[in-house]
Amino acid sequence: MTSSKKQTIMKTITVVLLLLMSSASWAQSESYAILKSRFAGDKDVFSFHAGGFLVQTALWFSGEDLGRDIGEIRDVRMINIPKEEIRSRGLRLSGFKKILADDGFEQIVSVKERGEEVTIYLQEGKHDNRYFMLVEESNEVTAFEIRGNIDPHALAECHSKKTFQL
């Protein structure tokens, strides 16, 4: 391969990566952006973003046909915040739930068990939906934002994976 061809390929890859990175930055919801702008970088706050390819690969590696069963996932964002960080700023989770509602997220499923509460919200889009999952535990709150189209069966399974197998 000639050096000019190599340069062209490198340029193309760079442009594609830049495009992917820029699309990833605006792909988050306003609600998630608010959460991240307020808490990311704080002590004990952990966050990550994974693109669809990485998620699908991880699901594929996790075995079975989990990736196919769940549906299409474009990207996943996650932020874990200690409750103390929220309290120390005089904020409440109920306030954030109002932000979610104002941002067009509707609650679809809520499961509460042994002091842990998992609530899933949905923001419908033209092509992709956004799913916001809030996990409230005694000491921390974890928020997941998933963009894609999740199979409703997988969402329905969310509640049954808890108890009620009487």
Binding site: V109, E113, L155, T163
Partner: protein, 180 residues
Amino acid sequence: MKKIIVLIVIVAGANSAFAQDAISKFFTKYQNDESFSQVTVSSKMFSLFTNMEATTPEDKEVLEAISKLKGLRILGKENTSDARALYKEAFSLIPKNEFEELMSVRDKDKDMKFYIKESGGKISELVMIMGGTQDFMVMSLFGEIDLKQVSKIGHKMNVDGLEKLEKMDEHKKQPNSKDN
């Protein structure tokens, strides 16, 4: 006169609010008790099933039935010594003038009761109460309910217990299967 009208409106409003969910009181009482597990499914969740493509006519019927549901609430407690007491308490809270018993099942050590609220030939709420020696569960499914599809809905939504409704005709024919 105005006072009477206001009073009637308030009473009617209170009745309709209560009628929306037979076990609301029960849920309200135990919703902050961490020893209980709770599940709430909104109508939005059910509406997601309408976007799915049905592969068979049977699937289509089930998806149509799911799309008419407005909500599902489940409250349960496992490994508890007061399962029987909770079962009796939930049972006592069912407004018997609004609900009729659909079916009663005894399966090993578990008792199950199914109640429906019917108006104009349409079922608007299905309540299932389940109590064993150690486990308890109460479930309220509301919206426009097609009883023929409920057991299949239970399968799709992974709600245990609803499959018992498949045997509804059998149980109705066997009065001995009723307990309590």
